[in-house]
């Protein structure tokens, strides 16, 4: 047996598809009488056409898988800078491998998988903006990598976007961006501590970021001779260009009128005492009401007129440019308890809060419309044309004692109470009281020490007004008699 015969015999004895192929190839090329060069050319031609076919097949298959993945509509939610982000998506199991998202580490994220078909994109975004993530993966061995664009937006942390631009002191009716006051009423001869008043008003972030002035205002006064406490809080309308002046004038006029009526008013004192002695007596009640109207209702009318006068003095402005809400209250302690009377037009809250009796008494109803931000203003003449103005807006009451009398603008009451119903809920007021004490430790805002004669509480209260509440960045003003 020569070498070639031995080779053929060896081949014939082997088994398996390759050897079958080789045998068939030899048979075919021998039958066609191809010389070695032709055999080689044929070989190359046959394999390269197969390879082309194979490549086409690979591409088809890859495109098919890519289409399938595209049809799955991979979509990841938006995130927020510095907040935990977690997104998941599916890729068909077994069809893809080596999945990557390019540059994802630079965004503060990483890609993981459950090892089957689910992939997780998680971490804490470090950059804000609109990004296009490139998801790439291998479909078949030998095929080029496939990729897919996925848009995602990372929102900035809203707190990082606020700026605090001081108000230009040259604007008309300039007002400081914040204000505080504390009225300390020291113990009398009986050495029993007396209630004090504290108030703070802070320009809202929405104004601060544009260098716009604070529209809120408050005024406190105490008649040392007669023992009356007087407090007023007003919220100038955000849309009215000179409302900062409106709120200021309204508070000051109401307080000034009350003070003039309360410094020395024996008739009023007698009417209160008579009424307290017999609350069922309709005559005494009417008499007292008449006097309260003279003080409180007239105070509101005076406030309205004072704003009107300032508006009239300004040629380029109308009354509505000074639009403001107003709430004010007078309070005095007697042997039989506290007498309190108040007037309220607009939103916000004015409330008597008492922890001993677990009660809250809202001194009126906030004027709120169908939508947020709609309210009524002291500057609307129709307020005083309403025949129910006295019964609706004027309140008087006698209580044995109370923990605090609160007056606040909606910048405080909206985030703290949200709804009108909550304003009548004792627990919500207790929560506010506790929040005043504890502050907001998570946001580094300390509490307010509302102990007797603590003048520092006015600064603490101002700092406290900086609390964070999403979507609530209006001016904030609060006055407390406690």
């Amino acid at each position: 047996m020569n070498r070639s015969q031995r080779h053929l015999s060896r081949l014939a004895n082997r088994r398996g598809p390759i050897h079958d192929l080789e045998r068939i190839f030899d048979a075919v090329t021998e039958e066609a009488a191809l010389n070695p060069a032709e055999r080689e050319a044929f070989c190359r031609w046959a394999l390269s056409s197969l390879l082309d076919n194979f490549k086409t097949h690979l591409m088809d298959r890859r495109i098919e898988i890519e289409k399938q993945i595209k049809a799955m509509g991979i979509n990841v939610p938006n995130g927020t800078v510095n907040k935990d982000y977690h997104a998941s998506f599916l890729l068909p199991e077994g069809l893809v491998s080596d999945v990557r998202v390019d540059g994802v580490e630079d965004l503060g994220l990483s890609l993981t998988t459950d090892g089957y078909d689910e992939y997780y994109l998680s971490g804490r975004p470090v950059k804000a903006g609109d990004f296009t993530l490139t998801l790439s993966f291998q479909t078949l061995a030998g095929a080029p990598r496939s990729s897919l664009k996925i848009p995602v937006a990372f929102n900035p942390d809203p707190r990082s976007l606020w700026r605090n631009i001081p108000t230009d002191p040259n604007i008309p009716y300039f007002k400081e961006d914040s204000a505080t006051d504390y009225i300390r009423v020291e113990a009398g001869k009986d050495e029993a501590p007396r209630k004090d008043m504290v108030a703070a008003s802070q320009r809202g972030r929405s104004h601060a970021r544009e260098g716009k002035p604070r529209d809120d205002h408050f005024a406190l006064d105490h008649c040392y001779e007669s023992g009356w406490y007087i407090m007023a809080v007003a919220d100038g309308a955000g849309s009215a260009k000179y409302s900062r002046k409106g709120s200021e004038v309204a508070c000051n006029a109401a307080v000034a009128h009350c003070k003039s009526m309360l410094t020395d008013n024996p008739e009023f004192e007698k009417a209160i005492a008579d009424y307290a002695a017999d609350k069922e007596d309709a005559g005494k009640r009417t008499e007292l009401t008449r006097m309260v109207i003279d003080i409180i209702y007239k105070g509101a009318v005076k406030a309205h007129e004072a704003v009107k006068k300032v508006a009239a003095a300004n040629e380029e402005a109308k009354l509505r440019d000074f639009a403001t809400t107003l709430m004010f209250a007078i309070a005095k302690k007697y042997d039989f308890g506290w007498f309190i009377a108040s007037f309220w037009v607009g939103d916000g809250a004015i409330c008597l809060f008492d922890m001993n009796s677990h009660t809250v008494k809202l001194l009126g109803t906030p004027d709120e419309g169908e939508f947020s931000g709609q309210t009524r203003f002291l500057t609307m003449p129709e307020i005083f044309h309403d025949k129910d103005v006295v019964s609706k807006r004027l309140k008087m009451t006698i209580v044995p004692d109370f923990t605090a009398l609160f007056l606040m603008t909606d910048g405080v009451s909206d985030p703290m109470f949200e709804t009108e119903k909550n304003l009548n809920d004792y627990d919500k007021w207790l929560h506010l009281w506790n929040k005043l004490n504890t502050g907001f430790p998570g946001d580094n805002i300390p509490g307010v020490d509302l102990s007797d004669d603590n003048e520092q509480s006015k600064n603490q209260l101002l700092r406290w007004l900086d609390f964070w509440s999403a979507g609530n960045h209006d001016d904030r003003t609060i006055a407390i008699l406690y």
Partner: protein
């Protein structure tokens, strides 16, 4: 829940918007959204919805908080009528169901804003006129209408609002500056919400013509 500032965008997607105009609108919308995201107040309160109208009116994205908002695909048919009236009818229904009003137990949303952009005229004029009356009862804080391109008619839009503006061209520069202005206007809407009267818009950019 935080009260929202609902913003409705009504976009004409009739056949004539096909191609460059619609692509330009998309570029403009994207720029508007990323500009709004840089406004902390908008970021916490704006919710956006897009309604497209051609031969049919569709809400392609329901009222969605800005931070979660992703611009969806916007498509347009080859040709066909512009059913602006149908879009307003859909809007009325959506405002009734999506926008929250105040009750003692619940804080209402801010008054919604409406922006409408069209490059033609309503094909359903009767329905349109009927719906304009309904829209006026919906207490939008502001309605801003934009007539885009030379073929857009401003007269029907003037029935809807006195804030009508026109764009001479439908390219992406024009739309970008238009939507930038819209986002500034939304910002203003956001800040002057105490108002019961209409909001005061910032001056429009030069590409936007005021129609009196």
């Amino acid at each position: 829940m935080t009260r929202r500032l609902p913003v409705y965008l009504l976009i004409d997607t009739s056949g004539s918007m096909r191609g460059e105009p619609l692509e330009s609108v998309k570029v403009g919308l994207e720029a508007m959204i990323s500009s709004l995201r840089r406004d902390p107040f908008a970021l916490e309160s704006v919710s956006l919805s897009i309604i497209t109208f051609d031969k049919e009116a569709k809400q392609i994205i329901p009222l969605t908080p800005l931070d979660r908002f992703k611009l969806p695909e916007i498509t347009t048919p080859d040709s066909g009528p512009t059913h602006t009236g149908a879009a307003l009818r859909l809007l009325c229904e959506l405002v009734d169901t999506e926008v929250v009003t105040s009750t003692p137990d619940r804080k209402g949303d801010w008054r919604p804003l409406l922006f409408i952009m069209t490059d033609g005229k309503p094909s359903d004029l009767l329905l349109y006129k009927e719906m304009v009356k309904k829209i006026h009862k919906k207490k939008f804080a502001a309605i801003i209408a934009c007539a885009a391109g030379m073929k857009a008619q401003t007269d029907p839009l003037k029935l809807l609002t006195d804030q009508v503006y026109s764009l001479d061209t439908l390219d992406s520069t024009t739309f970008k500056s238009f939507f930038k202005w819209i986002s500034d206007s939304i910002g203003v809407g956001n800040r002057s919400l105490g108002a019961s009267e209409d909001i005061l818009l910032p001056p429009p950019p030069p590409e936007v013509n005021v129609i009196i």
